[in-house]
Subunit: 597 residues, 2 copies
């Protein structure tokens, strides 16, 4: 399936549009200001000297690059001279400070210039990849090619060092990213050399001895043999995205097959119900199948974003609605939980459970390690905030696709598609409601994704189901009505932390209970599947849910009893998971105690 | 209630008698051999010099002291020349190496002689206390008073340093223990100075500024104001035991009231269903009320033993059966889980849940910290093994008590009591069966504890209930029949990790499921209260239980589903909790997923 890029699609209304606007009006500036304060912006002046404060960090280039990429997506749709000047100034500094040979990296120019391309774990190629993504985005959005020129030169230099001379201290990137960026460079410039460099990195991975050449960096075996998602979850998703890109360009069936296996392994064995990926902070990594602890979940915001990228390529590769389902799950849950309601604070880790009573601080002996409980404005490793900056303004790319005579509607967002010979207007307040109107021109058929979570729908036309899409003749306005009633979700019982529990979703939105609404004994609410949830207004742009249930009562005496604790009728207030922790520090629970009898 | 010491009571048969015999025939030797290999025995020669291997550790004296105490209890009942010689040799070394002024401590003589009594956290008074307990035990068991003479001299020296001269670098012990030991010294010798020294330490605690003078060492406030069990759980139990001893001796009502509050706080807010105390390895400590995580439980074997000591004093103080219930719970569960079936290996920590799939080792980034999963022969801090050595041969002291004209039967163990003017023979295979025969002479009444766990009993005589005891006229053989049918136990729902779960007990024994019997998906067994358990033979000296239940089946596709997973009829094999991890590394679960609907 060919998908339409974000430049062809304007979002026009609804929940995700509001988040896109929040990014444009608040988040993009908040991230820049924090990056300015912390020295990341100033580092581009290349004037740091030993003894100065704010020593550049090895991955600061990438933070700014992702921010520039996001700014470019905004500028493509909205004139914003102030924002454009910030980008221009940064690009000018890149141009000024790039090495004659094309090399560009702040840390390895002002701090350790003698050690370029010696340490695989030091993110040089990762930074390069993000600068290349920014370069393509800026060129596409504004027509300005200064940064692209710089990055073409840098890519040529990298090709020389890693392919022609093979003179670097390692063979493949420790942190993947440049692979997918090189495909973007290739697609935009048409220069095959960039695709070849991507193929070189992907094909060399796991075939040579190198530092951390283990599962942590997905370097434990050749990529075409990999079937289990392992190691650092963001690196994994970025690699798999690059693999899928390369496979699409080359038609490499073995690579495609590996991508499918890796996707299914994540989706079916290693993903939280919220889309969160990565069960442990130790290495920010995947662990074993079905090991999904809720309170210590890592579930990095960037991993959900990486999964969006990967699923987008898989949709391009195979045109199956399950990949669009994944994008939807991640957009609404795993990714958006990383962003505060005011657009200025962020989660890096996204746990599915907070029990403040377990975060006991013994003062002298410390406390157990848990994810932080409230969003913050910046991290020392602040990869997630600018990743949000670039996904939110480019969400249009996930909405529509085309294959043959059929227009595919992959995401339900109020929007207008305009391309040569084809157009489409979608009107919907999804997911606040389940009613979607689609009016398309220039296509014989329209395929509407029937979400995997959807338990019932009506369509005003005859349809046939194909790969998860309801395909209809395009003979006038299409009205799709998705059943948005909230219901219980169960996990495979091999996920031992969720056995005997249930989660609640409404449409694509996973819900959670917070202590601020329900008191701290969240585990004592006993919920029966088949509840009738009441939708109630809520400050977070989506309905809250009131779930009728029972609440277990404290024992009258002692700590243990042969009698089951008494219960009282109760109502559990649930809010969208992505909105947790916006009202102060609070207990939080996704997986509720289930009445399974 | 006056209780009869172990010298007056011989155990004659049954499960605990078998454990006592196991200690006598295996454990006492195994611990000595490990202590010999690791240098603890040799350290008593006081010949270590800088540069030598096996540098004495600050608490090695206490390891050997507890072992000697246990050996003495054995020697009181069984001639064993080899064992006696080991004790005699050690005592001779103490006598030889004690300072002229009475001071005795290996580390602070051969390693840091210049720093005696300068560091509150270095266990000198703790070691002194254990040496005193050993001294009293040896004198009482064998009539040999060499060690007692040494320790009286040492106690005098401590009195001089801490009371008369007030010349130490601190005021009260960092690790409590000497308090209860001084009461033993006082009771055996009649010398009031030892009780006064105990009172000095207890009354000074929490009233002066000192190192770690915080909750970790129960030094955060005067002891009579303490109402919540805090800090290092073994230190806490030892302190509370000393407080109760002192209160019994002095009749101090404020101190008695504090003891009652601290006991109830542990029993009602901070104790695992197995009796385990201490929720975190960070400081080996209590955390907040109801915070009882199962997989990371610390529940140190020594803390259960400390609780036995404390509950024993509380029974002496108040004569309430709830304290005998506590002793029973700890003996059978929290304490005995520390000992392997062969008597030669030990747990220090006693978790209530093992999920091997969660103990993911990322190699480079390590793995989450969990209690060890199989017992080992020795620890670098090996306090628990010799603590078992001394409890097991002295269990007779917990069986009988007297108050006025009533003989109290506190524990049900086949045994014979003989004291001047009174005798009793108890015949029972408890807790394999619930039938207990008691024949007493020389007492007008007999009071039989009706355990708090007991849901039904029959007695062949009329009785009145008093403080948890069924009191009968002593006019012939008494036959008590306790209902031993297994049943479900629920936790107060404020224990969030146990909400929606149930445990299973049969009589005083808490049960667990192991992966070796049931496969690794222990959480997927769904158990309904009201089950009818089948008792089946088991290698661990108590019946195993087969629990009819349902088992949740893996989903047919995907990781999450709107349909509850299917179930199949299943039988869950449960074994006594104290016997877990005797058949290799395995998953283990006490709190089962409950069908609560």
């Amino acid at each position: 399936m060919k998908t339409y890029g974000y430049t062809k699609v304007d979002l026009t209304g609804g929940y995700l549009f509001e988040k896109q606007e929040l990014n444009r009006t608040a988040t993009i500036k908040a991230v820049y200001d924090r990056f300015d304060e912390t020295g990341r912006v100033g580092a581009f002046r290349f004037d740091w000297k030993p003894g100065d404060d704010l020593r550049p960090h090895i991955f600061w280039d990438s933070d700014i690059a992702k921010w520039m990429e996001g700014a470019a997506y905004i500028l493509a749709k909205h004139a914003d001279p102030e924002l454009e000047k910030k980008v221009d100034d940064l690009v000018a500094l890149v141009k000024k400070n790039q090495d004659e040979n094309g090399y560009f990296n702040i840390y390895y120019t002002v701090v350790e210039p003698e050690n370029r391309f010696t340490d695989r774990e030091c993110h040089e190629l990762y930074c390069a990849g993000h600068m290349m993504e920014a370069a393509v985005a800026i060129a596409e959005a504004t027509g300005k090619t200064d940064l692209l020129d710089c990055m073409e030169k840098y890519a040529d230099h990298i090709h020389k060092v890693f392919v022609e001379d093979n003179s670097a201290g390692f063979f493949t990137p420790g942190h993947e990213e440049i692979e997918l960026a090189l495909v973007k460079m290739y697609r935009y410039t048409g220069k095959k050399k960039f695709l070849d460099l991507c193929a070189h990195f992907i094909n060399t991975r796991g075939t040579v001895e190198e530092k951390r050449g283990d599962i942590y960096t997905q370097s434990h075996m050749p990529v075409r043999e990999q079937a289990e998602a392992v190691g650092h979850s963001v690196r994994a998703c970025y690699l798999y995205t690059g693999m899928a890109d390369l496979a699409i360009e080359t038609g490499d069936e073995a690579l495609k097959a590996a991508c499918r296996k890796l996707f299914d392994n994540m989706a079916n064995c290693k993903m939280y119900v919220t889309g969160g990926l990565g069960s442990t902070y130790m290495g920010e990594a995947f662990t074993g199948a079905y090991d999904l602890p809720n309170d210590t979940a890592y579930a990095e915001t960037c991993a959900s974003i990486g999964m969006i990228f990967f699923a987008h390529r898989m949709m391009q590769m195979d045109g199956d609605a399950k990949y669009a389902d994944m994008i939807e799950l991640q957009l609404y849950n795993g990714m958006l939980s990383g962003l505060s309601a005011d657009g200025a604070a962020f989660f890096y880790e996204n746990p599915l459970e907070i029990n403040l009573s377990e975060q006991y601080d013994s003062a002298y002996y410390g406390k157990r390690r848990f994810p932080i409980t409230e969003r913050v404005e910046c991290f020392s490793c602040s990869c997630c905030p600018p990743n949000l900056n670039r996904v939110l303004p480019s969400m249009g790319q996930y909405v529509y696709g085309i294959e043959g005579d059929t227009l595919f509607v992959n995401q339900y967002i109020g929007s207008v598609l305009k391309d040569s010979g084809i157009s489409c207007t979608m009107t919907t307040d999804y997911p606040r409601t389940g009613t979607i109107s689609v009016k398309a021109e220039g296509t014989a058929k329209v395929a509407l994704r029937i979400p995997g979570w959807c338990r019932g729908f009506t369509l005003n036309k005859p349809y046939v189901m194909e790969k998860g899409y309801a395909v209809v003749e395009n003979d006038g306005e299409i009205i799709l009505e998705l059943d948005m009633q909230a219901y219980a979700v169960f996990a495979d019982p091999r996920v031992l932390r969720d056995a005997g529990k249930l989660a609640i979703r409404r449409g694509p939105i996973v819900y959670c209970a917070e202590g601020v609404d329900n008191g701290s004994d969240l585990h004592s609410y006993l919920v029966k599947a088949g509840f009738k949830a009441a939708e109630v207004p809520c400050e977070f742009g989506l309905p809250a849910l009131d779930i009728p249930c029972k609440k277990l009562l404290p024992l009258e005496s002692g700590l243990y009893s042969a009698e089951m604790p008494g219960t009282e009728d109760a109502v559990l207030r649930m809010i969208p998971y992505n909105a947790f922790a916006n009202r102060g520090e609070s207990d939080m629970l996704v997986w509720l105690t289930a009445a399974l009898g």
